[in-house]
Amino acid sequence: MLSVTQTADGRGTRGQLATDAVGRTRTARPDVRGLELIDLRKGFDEVVALDGLSLAVKPGRMVGFLGPNGAGKTTAMRSVFELVELDTGEVLWDGRPVGLAERLEFGYMPEERGLYPRMQVGEQIEYFGRLHGLDAGRARAASARWLERLGLEDRARAKVEELSHGTQQRAQLAAALVHEPKLLVLDEPFAGLDPVAVLTLAEVLRSEAERGAAVLFSSHQLELVEDICEEVAIVDHGRIVATGDVDGLRRASQHRRIELQLDDAPPGWLPDVSGVELVERRNGSVRLSAGREVDPEQLLAAAERAGRVVAFSYGPPSLAELFVELVAP
């Protein structure tokens, strides 16, 4: 790890760090596959959007990108496409800096959706295929294939502005996927979708990852992310606070969740075990949070002394709980 000396001129120091990062990755890690964001830094006037964010997405993996609003998710994703000028930091693909040639093989769904409103859906998807380097014939075939896959085949000749919001969203997805990208970067792809569309999109993303694409998507729907992703990266204040496999992260948490349903217990009962906190009490069931060192047997015994235990569960926190734990101010 590099040591950074803080000087009055903070920029210079960060510049030094970035230069070192370039040298290091270029020489020492030429065999790294997939996307790597290394120590991204970006300030907008007074606000620090990215504060040394680093993240990797391997081919065939689907990574959920989580964080509160304003944490820097969108800025990090836009930096992959050079839509934001980084102060320092490196964006690499297969160990090499990302340029236009690499980006031709990336697919992108921006946070704020955008297609040409008065252009026909089919031709528009085809156009984006061609902008990503497909020849006319392949672009047309891929456009037709994706429209069919997403259930839009009968809307191919409709103008985008004539479509409903959800249908436009599907067209937007087709524009990101038409050229079989090696990397998919999707900013809030599930936002505003109905439950059926959510399932379709989850299925599409899963099959894209199976095809070998690296998939990075941001979301606020944590239960959904827990369901479909094996890997997450949680960002807060412009830096990654946790990253890795979802189950591993949950197990590594310092907390455990306990749910207890107890009949005939005195009102307001709480187990007399140190390190246990009440989270919520509802309809005769109690949700508790305990340090991971607390012995569940001891808890259960305390509950049995107080009343009749109807249900008892003990385990690592859910992704949502973990998220709150990590990004709480």
């Binding site: 704020e112 959706r113 297609l115 156009y127 061609r130 902008l131 990503h132």
Partner: protein, 381 residues
């Protein structure tokens, strides 16, 4: 994918989407109809020409009838024959503009004041031949003038100058506004993010300007081409050389468009997301209007004055002023060359400057970005 491929794809999309719009087809048809219609109308309302010819005593009998007969093939022109006492009296009448030509049968001469009217000469020639029962080809009448031909600008040249520069002004503003609208639309609905993820901003700019420019060029070439062809073929009652001046409008549209469209694109990119395309393009449109009126004033007051010369070569005004001045009084070759060099240099400089402002403006969300602020941002790279 090479930059050229990207530019071609973008230009082709512009052309395809916009030729599908009914507005483009309708405006082309209307302009063509206006040019074609003015030719037809010109003929319908053109009053029958009357040539006033003086002949010195003694006037041979039957000359009047022969003149009238000879004039018939010329759009039913009329000939008014006036008999004067002597050649000197005839010259006086000619000088006083009481007659258009003086026929001196004694020495087989036809005299005009300053400019030879080819039609009147042909009529007189045919009439005298017929009257003397001689057949062509022997030349009969020597044609002379009292004064050297003056360089008076014809009405047709004035018309060509003003209609030509007006056509240039409206085309530049119209297609320039298309560029602004396109840029603002792409920026506002964020499709530009998707495009710029694979295309460099300057290639997007080039594709857009070339696509829309080609459309404007095609439309103008069609309209101006028709007008030039009609002039050369003599449908209009105007000198055929003016056809060349009309045709000059076409390359100067291309040059003017390259210059102004880039400025329009930068203006569109700097607009805030709430601002609409009409107001975004205003600074550029006002510049266009400004140089148009400056050119109008300069050319109508002193077409050979200092201001007129300056506006002919100044790159911002040259596209509007040069073709007009060329039709009115002619532009020397060196001024053509200087104007061309200056405008091409300006296009180069503007593409470099406005191209970077455009790139900054496109990705700058929210509030309106000033030109200076955008330029400062490009300096921070």
């Amino acid at each position: 994918m090479s930059g050229r491929t990207a530019i071609a794809l973008i230009a082709w999309r512009e052309i395809r989407e916009r030729t599908r719009s009914k507005a483009f087809l309708a405006s082309t048809l209307v302009l063509l109809a206006l040019v074609g219609g003015s030719a037809v109308l010109g003929r319908m309302f053109d009053p029958t020409t009357t040539y006033r010819v003086a002949v010195a005593e003694p006037a041979p009998p039957g000359l009047g009838a022969a003149l009238q007969h000879a004039a018939e093939p010329f759009d039913d022109a009329k000939v008014q024959l006036r008999v004067v006492a002597s050649p000197a009296a005839g010259r006086q009448a000619l000088e006083a503009e009481e007659v258009d030509a003086l026929l001196l049968l004694s020495d087989d001469r036809l005299v005009f004041r300053a400019n030879v009217d080819a039609k009147a000469a042909a009529v007189a020639d045919a009439a005298v031949r017929a009257h003397r029962r001689q057949l062509p080809p022997a030349p009969e009448l020597a044609i002379t003038t009292l004064h050297p031909p003056d360089e008076e600008t014809t009405d047709a040249a004035i018309l060509v100058a003003y209609v030509g520069s007006l056509l240039l002004l409206t085309s530049l503003a119209f297609y320039g506004q298309w560029v602004v609208t396109g840029v603002v639309e792409e920026k506002n609905n964020r499709v530009v993010e998707l495009i710029l993820s694979t295309v460099r901003p300057r290639h997007l700019l080039a594709g857009k300007v070339i696509g829309i420019g080609l459309l404007g060029f095609a439309q103008l070439a069609l309209v101006a081409g028709l007008a030039a062809a009609l002039l050369v073929s003599g449908v209009f009652d105007a000198p055929a050389e003016l056809g060349g001046d009309v045709a000059l409008v076409i390359p100067w549209f291309a040059l003017g468009f390259a210059l102004y469209a880039v400025a329009y694109a930068a203006a569109g990119a700097l607009a805030s997301r709430q601002q609409n395309a009409d107001t975004a393009g205003q600074p550029v449109t006002y510049t266009l209007l400004g140089v148009y009126f400056a050119g109008y004033v300069a050319l109508s007051s002193a077409p050979d004055g200092l201001l007129a010369h300056a506006l002919t070569v100044f790159p911002v005004s040259a596209p509007l002023v040069l073709p007009a001045r060329s039709a009115l009084v002619g532009v020397p070759l060196w001024e053509h060359a200087l104007a061309l060099v200056l405008v091409i240099a300006s296009i180069y400089a503007l593409v470099r400057f406005a191209g970077r402002v455009y790139a900054q403006g496109l990705l700058h969300g929210g509030s309106r970005l000033g030109v200076r602020a955008a330029w400062r941002l490009t300096q921070q790279r």
